[in-house]
Symmetry: C2
Subunit: 183 residues, 2 copies
């Protein structure tokens, strides 16, 4: 039986109305475009091009089926912390876009939740079909629905305008993203 | 019985040597200063000033013991995703500093792990004792020990110099932190 990362109803129940103004022609989470479906990651997506598509974003490296399934199960068992969504082409049966929402449990803000959007990628053959926007809107609206007090992301300079058009802001004096890379 | 968020041996086993050059006078994770101990968060820290200290960082709001314990248990059950560390004054038996490391499971970078440092706070009466540095160094070294390919954080402008002194970098063209606040 195919294992799904989270209940598909969670996506179906997103109120997409606040984001509808972003789309021309109109698409949304239920109708992402001809032959396309937006859905939670499944464990069988290892064989459907999920990782190959992710390679268009960054280095994925060699991932065995066992490694993939271990990571999938760890995410699934985390009690609602990971929401990886994919867009599949139903004709080719290939994953052509994906993004992740990570929910962080806090003590601050009355034991609040914070959403983080990560690893957003749309296959280069599908650019211009508003699918990047759709992934971000879906995950930002999902964060809100899950009760997060905010949703955040970090990005390269050339993506700033895109995220600003979807409501993300660099706050004055509080917008520094810093890192140490180990390998 | 008092419940601890993670095995204290994980902290004891951090090789602190790469960070020793940051301290004058010398302190480290095992010897954080007179009357002080660095240790994992315990569920009993609800009664030891953990939340009151966190209020020096940001809004904590009204957190009942039940809310605190629910959040604590969710973190503890997440199989090694949350590392909240505190510094306690053993004489007053109060938490006087804390910080969180969140580990994110990825599919990219060969199903790699990414560390995130969050919610760093040192009680204002204890500033100048190098404790902020100690929290950050401990969590950055812990990230590395846990196998993370990188550790990241976001911060206000006035903290940039501090984090740079500990090895964090704003990468050219890739250092934008953006957010949507819901409430």
């Amino acid at each position: 039986m195919d294992s799904v990362l989270f209940d598909p109803k969670i996506l179906e129940n997103i109120d997409f109305q606040p984001a509808e103004c972003h789309y021309n022609p109109p698409i949304n989470a239920i109708n992402p475009g001809e032959d396309l479906v937006l859905r939670p990651l499944r464990i069988s997506d290892y064989d459907n091009g999920f990782l190959e598509n992710l390679e268009q974003l960054t280095d994925v490296g060699k991932v065995s089926k066992e490694m993939f399934e271990d990571s999938f199960k760890r995410m699934k068992s985390s009690d609602g912390l990971y929401y990886v969504i994919v867009i599949e082409n139903l004709v080719s049966e290939r994953v052509i876009a994906s993004a992740t929402l990570l929910i962080e449990q806090k003590f601050i803000h009355a034991c609040g939740l914070r959403g983080r959007i990560e690893d957003v990628v749309v296959n280069s053959s599908y650019r211009g079909r508003q699918l990047g926007k759709l992934l971000i809107d879906a995950l930002a609206l999902l964060s809100k629905q899950l009760g997060c007090y905010k949703v955040t992301l970090d990005c390269r300079d050339e993506k700033r305008g895109f995220y600003e058009s979807l409501g993300f802001k660099k706050e004055d004096g509080n917008s520094n993203f810093m890192q140490i890379r180990f390998h």
